[in-house]
Symmetry: C2
Subunit: 252 residues, 2 copies
DNA sequence: CGTTAATTTGAGACTCATCAAATTTTGTGG
DNA sequence: CCACAAAATTTGATGAGTCTCAAATTAACG
């Protein structure tokens, strides 16, 4: 089921001390079916997977590492749409248009497995049940975007930051990349500000508030959630939106 | 292919003077297959289709009328996530969780056709190709949410408002519900403010700016885009994100 | 171990929110 | 079809939240 970690080339310098995590079941299923393990490509930190304005002829399964999806506006500002974690598919939205609407790039060293659109179409022909499950799973991305929209549209900066830290915590924990109250991630203040529509100096001040309140700290590329309950209360965080039902769980 | 307007009961009191628009092809296909026309239910303005916190056991095809998807926050604020227009599916994200994350309610009189999840599952069994196309089409919603996220996160109020007016214009035009430079829609300032994360008085002032600049006017539930080019330039509006490729157009 | 990247601090300005009230428009029952 | 109640728009004054700019400090990396 899960991708076998030792089968991939070990990467001692990886920022992530953990092994390759378990993939969500549909990702594992597709991975097995299309032999994606063999197709894995290693990327360095900062490499683009998808480039805005360019045709995108594949979707990618992120096997290891962290990436972001973002848009650069005409005035040079950046808006990060979401963080992409192991087990997530990359480029699903981008390949739906004749040129990609967003860019995706790695934040750490990463391993990705491309799935050419032709393979996806073939899958829809030869294995339509799996394809349906896969496509169904794609729509869960909308829930995360919607939650970001709510946070950015209607919540003050401190709640947004708290919410982001908790979302990443919850998602990483789910795939075995976080422990009880912390996770490793090169989450710079610039990334936070671009994800939440804030300025870097203000994010800095917000982080100080969280630190002084004993709620959360970022240090040495490590995010430490010191008081989960209080932070969740502050952020009005409820992790249901990160736990979509698979197609099989819909009708009990 | 398209839904036959006269076949549906005419609704003289409808706020919308136009007839039922052509559905997108996948919607038409599913509609025909499941005989959704016969299943159409009429709703009055302001009725809830999906309620946050409640189990949602169906998706709905909006056949006629306008709806919004939104969340009410703990402090009573509302964030509108998107506007739902004829031909759009409702509740796709909501039914993916054991209780709906958002509410959906009509803004005008409307006609919807429920598709029980069981029917959707059955479709995936009996007609997996169609199901795959349908599920694939669901993921285009993410592009609209992403664009909203960018607007709210990184653009000043006047650009957000301009962007929203143009998005609705473009989407309505596509389904035959807008003419050259205007469309009918009960778009109150409260709706705009809740969609864009602004206050009502400020939206009011922004609309005055747009009006005085000769760019756009809202009057008598009608939105008039007086200068499309200039408004689009102001908003940095590019409608690619509203024109996803169907699954068949992906590999040319 | 230097050089670039990231964080931190301060001062000042500006966008936009809040609150309150007046005005206009819309919907509705008589 | 009018009159009234409710909803929506408009205006003003004030203040909070957040941004910008600039520079200093600290941390990361080859």
């Amino acid at each position: 089921m899960a991708v076998d970690a030792p089968a991939l080339s070990p990467r001692p310098k990886s920022l992530n001390p953990k092994l390759v995590p378990a993939l969500p079941s549909i990702a594992a299923e597709v991975s097995a079916l299309l032999d994606l393990k063999a197709a894995g490509r290693s990327l360095r930190a900062g490499q683009e997977i998808v480039s805005e304005g360019r045709r995108c002829n594949a979707v990618f399964l992120l096997i290891e590492g962290i990436a972001i999806r973002y848009r650069i506006l005409r005035d040079g500002q950046r808006q990060i749409l979401n963080f992409i974690l192991p087990g997530d598919f990359v480029g699903v939205t981008s390949c739906r248009f004749d040129s990609a609407l967003y860019s995706v790039k790695t934040l750490t060293a990463a391993t990705i497995a491309p799935i050419p659109l032709s393979a996806l179409m073939a899958l829809a022909e030869t294995n339509p049940q799996t394809a349906a499950r896969l496509f169904w799973s794609f729509s869960s991305e909308a829930a995360i975007l919607a939650e970001h929209l709510i946070a950015i549209g209607r919540r003050p900066a401190i709640e947004r930051v708290a919410h982001l830290l908790l979302e990443l915590f919850s998602r990483l924990q789910r795939i075995g990349l976080a422990d009880e109250r912390s996770y490793r991630l090169p989450l710079t203040q610039e990334l936070i500000s671009d994800a939440l529509g804030l300025s870097i100096p203000y994010v800095n001040r917000i982080l100080q508030q969280l630190r002084h309140a004993g709620l959360a700290t970022i240090k040495d590329r490590q995010v430490i959630i010191q008081n989960i309950e209080e932070l969740a209360a502050l952020a009005d965080f409820e992790h249901t939106y990160l736990r979509p039902l698979s197609i099989g769980e819909l009708v009990p």
